[in-house]
């Protein structure tokens, strides 16, 4: 039997010694602490948002006036391609992974993710693939064929530089990070929940990430295959997309959108989940229709994927390119309808408190609905013919992505940063932040619809004077500037808060879920004792919440339970109902994930420059790193943790 204790009597010094990453460079490079990894993910992804924003700013400066010559057409091509790639791949999804990495173990009463070293690998490959991509501007050879890189312009015949090699290798490299991260989330959700935290008690955010992770596991290989083909065709004279040799440019489109369509869910579903968890806290009542929201989140991922594949095999018409986002809008109409109804019902029947996270959540709903409407409009095919490849599409994708992703991320930052830093952000700056971004987004992207209807083509570096495009473009640039200042206000607020912000305490928002039971920031071991959960809102038990006539029943045991202090240990439970707790030994810090990531980076650079000796070094390094990773733990472990499973963790 495990030692039982209460939080106040628990041997926290022992636990700290077991779990703390030693200070110093080695510790920083070898750490597998999910909180450190999560913070790194958040900061890195936010930096990519700023870089992508910088690229957008240059484009807007170029487009402010007709006939401007700030950048050349070729540089403009590189700018929108890098902007699209950076935002879609290195910001939108990784920032959500950052939240998941930091919060999941705290939300499920665990001390780490299922595979801590895989988690470290996921971060290092994310960072290094980003550095790899951003080597390209220094050579003046960034990808220049848009974020979906259609053939034949991507092929060597038309595009001889390293540009599209950066695209192909960079995305394969990032794909490693995304895939191992997704597997880690799935494993964590299935195995690592504390006793009693059944599937029906999880935060909706976790359903969103689960759905995204499943999409990644099944859909991302399509992109890997496409990019491999692209690289082999460009550099080894093979033929997949060139029609002259029996290939087909359509093959690229099929493969890309088999991946690209689910990818939209990947950057959206976890964000919707976060908002579903934030709104109830500020409405002072549990979420209305939890089961429907959670169920429709999973259904969107699964059905959306299946329907899209069916499209691919059945039709094969070259339309998916332009209808992808509108097709997405149609499919997502039902679950998002359910979600929006649930959010409004929650606010309506609650007693809403309008703190900054709530403001961003409301802004999210508004932009979400506008983006949805313009999406349903584009889903009407004749209309689509009229506006496709125009700024109408650019307007639509930005409403969808900025609305559903960026606003949700801002809400989540204001909501969870106090848990991470221990200090609250300023509400006053928060309001400025919100209103500038909200107004900026609408001034920037609403007129873009008009520009599109007037016939302004996307991906063109300038436009002629005197065709009625001056006003809308000026408005867009002004709006973008306001939006950018809004982001800067956030940065200032953050830097101010970590020094001067009011202390947050464990639960500044009086929220209901497990992450708010620990101190802010949490100790290295997260929980002094493993809690036992008996309801969806454990911290609201024993109180009258919302419209409920009586207090919620006391069902959870949060502040006493097993200590598990024999080395790094946490509790694993059964997959659906989180019963049959079994202690599990977890691996300690390790340098191998970083070494492995560096070896993969060497391989990618070697392939890029055709430096075969470097490819050799990279592959040898990969083998050494994998051997080192698996080796030392081979003979350790408890009966539940056999060599290879522990090794893999």
């Amino acid at each position: 039997m495990e030692m039982q204790s209460t939080v106040s009597d628990a041997p926290t010094e022992t636990l700290r010694r077991i779990w703390e990453t030693p200070s110093g460079i080695y510790g920083q490079l070898a750490t597998v602490d999910h909180k450190t990894i999560g913070k790194r993910y958040l900061v890195t992804a936010f930096l990519f948002l700023l870089i992508g924003g910088l690229e957008a700013g240059i484009m807007r400066a170029q487009l402010t006036r007709p006939g401007e010559h700030l950048v050349t057409p070729e540089v403009y091509n590189q700018l929108f391609s890098m902007h699209g790639m950076t935002m879609m791949f290195w910001y939108a999804s990784p920032i959500l992974s950052g939240f998941s990495n930091y919060l999941w173990p705290l939300m499920i009463g665990a001390r780490d993710m299922a595979y801590p070293r895989v988690n470290a690998l996921s971060y290092w490959t994310f960072l290094l693939s980003g550095i790899f991509l951003y080597t390209s501007p220094f050579l003046g050879q960034s990808p220049n064929d848009g974020w979906f890189a259609y053939a034949p312009y991507s092929l060597g015949l038309y595009n001889a530089g390293l540009n599209m090699d950066f695209y192909a290798l960079g995305l394969i490299f990032l794909g490693i990070s995304t895939t191992v991260g997704a597997i880690n989330f799935i494993g964590t959700l299935i195995n690592m929940r504390c006793p009693g935290l059944s599937m029906s008690r999880l935060p909706v955010f976790m359903y969103g990430t689960l759905s995204a992770s499943l999409s990644i596991v099944f859909a991302l290989p399509a992109l890997t295959v496409a990019c491999t083909f692209l690289f082999l065709e460009r550099r080894f004279g093979m033929h997949f997309f060139a029609v002259e040799h029996g290939g087909s440019a359509m093959l690229w489109q099929h493969l890309f959108w088999m991946f690209g369509h689910p990818w939209v869910y990947v950057v959206v579903l976890p964000a919707m989940g976060m908002v579903s968890d934030i709104i109830p806290v500020f409405s002072r009542r549990p979420l209305v229709g939890y089961g429907f929201v959670a169920g429709s989140t999973i259904a969107t991922g699964v059905i959306g994927f299946a329907v899209w594949i069916h499209h691919m095999f059945a039709t094969g018409v070259p339309m998916m390119a332009m209808t992808v986002f509108s097709g997405f809008s149609f499919l997502i109409a039902i679950p998002s309808g359910i979600a929006v109804s649930a959010w409004i019902a929650t606010i309506w029947t609650g007693r809403p408190v309008f703190k900054t996270p709530m403001l961003f959540s409301l802004g999210f709903i508004v932009v979400f609905v506008i983006g949805g409407v313009s999406g349903v409009v584009t889903a009407a095919v004749p209309y689509d013919w009229q506006v496709s490849d125009s700024y109408f599409i650019v307007a639509h994708i930005h409403y969808v992505l900025v609305g559903i992703n960026v606003f949700a991320v801002m809400a989540a930052l204001y909501f969870w940063l106090p848990k991470i830093t221990g200090r609250l952000l300023s509400e006053r700056l928060g309001r400025w932040n919100f209103w500038m971004m909200f107004v900026g987004v609408n001034i920037a992207f609403f007129p873009m619809h008009v520009a599109g209807i007037l016939g302004m083509a996307r991906r063109v570096y300038t436009y002629p004077a005197g065709v009625g495009l001056e006003t809308v473009n000026l408005a867009t640039t002004v709006g973008a500037a306001i939006f950018a200042v809004g982001i800067l206000v956030f940065v200032v607020n953050f830097l101010w808060s970590i020094r001067r912000g009011a202390l947050a305490g464990p639960n500044p928002w009086d929220a209901a879920t497990l992450e708010w039971t620990t101190s802010s920031p949490p100790p290295p071991y997260n929980f002094a004792v493993i809690p036992t959960v008996g309801s969806r809102d454990p911290l609201w038990e024993g109180r009258v919440i919302g419209e409920a006539p009586s207090a919620l029943a006391l069902r959870s045991t949060l502040f006493s339970g097993p200590v598990l202090d024999h080395g790094r240990q946490t509790m694993t439970t059964s997959a659906i109902d989180a019963a049959q707790p079994v202690p599990q030994s977890m691996p300690a810090d390790s340098p191998w994930p970083l070494i492995l990531a560096l070896a993969i980076a060497a391989t990618c650079y070697g392939l890029l420059f055709g430096a075969w000796w470097l490819v050799g070094v990279g592959i040898a390094g990969t083998i050494v790193a994998l051997a080192g990773w698996l080796w030392p733990t081979a003979l350790a472990g408890t009966p539940q943790s056999d060599p290879v499973t522990v090794g893999a963790r």
């Binding site: 597997i183 859909a219 991302l220 290989p221 082999l232 093979m238 493969l255 290879v644």
Partner: protein, 174 residues
């Protein structure tokens, strides 16, 4: 392990989709030089299938506590897998086309190359498990590594059946 295999299996699905898709788009015959010869590929398929069977036999051994049966099973699996890889190399060299000649050639070498890489990873895993097995690490109720490496090997085997059916057999009927 299960999820790693799932995502790798999808990789093969998209590879084979590409093969079928480009095949359906062709005006002329597919493969351009007529169906691939089965004289090496068919026996090689049998060898790989056999290796999976032998692995299961070895795993059954350790479940009953027999170290010898496990060791023999692993060793034979390794040998059969290596023979498969060598024959596959001969198969590559005996083709009249190259990876650069046309889309069929590119797909053939890329897909079988991907599969070959999986065979090599499977063999490496087998080697690691083998070292543990000869050290006597495993017992009747503690041998998850054996099970996992086995899962991977069976996956490599099943993936080959699909590759074989798509590349070698399907053009004969299409």
């Amino acid at each position: 392990m299960v999820w790693t295999i799932a995502t790798e299996a999808c990789l093969f699905v998209y590879l084979l989709f590409s093969f079928v898709y480009l095949g359906a788009q062709q005006r002329g015959p597919w493969p351009p030089q007529g169906p691939l010869s089965l004289s090496l590929a068919l026996p090689n398929t049998a060898i790989l299938l056999l290796s999976s069977g032998v692995y299961m036999w070895g795993e059954r051994g350790i479940r009953r506590g027999s170290q010898t049966q496990l060791r023999v099973g692993l060793l034979l699996t390794f040998a059969l897998g290596a023979v498969f890889a060598v024959i596959q190399g001969i198969e590559w060299h005996s083709q009249s086309f190259t990876a650069q000649s046309d889309a069929f050639g590119s797909l053939f070498f890329t897909i079988t190359g991907f599969h070959g890489a999986h065979v090599i990873v499977g063999l490496l895993l087998n080697a690691v498990v083998q070292i543990w097995a000869w050290r006597g690490t495993f017992t009747a109720d503690r041998h998850l590594a054996v099970t996992n490496a086995g899962l991977y090997w069976h996956f490599v085997d099943i993936a080959w059946l699909f590759v074989f059916a798509t590349l070698y057999l399907s053009p004969r009927w299409m």
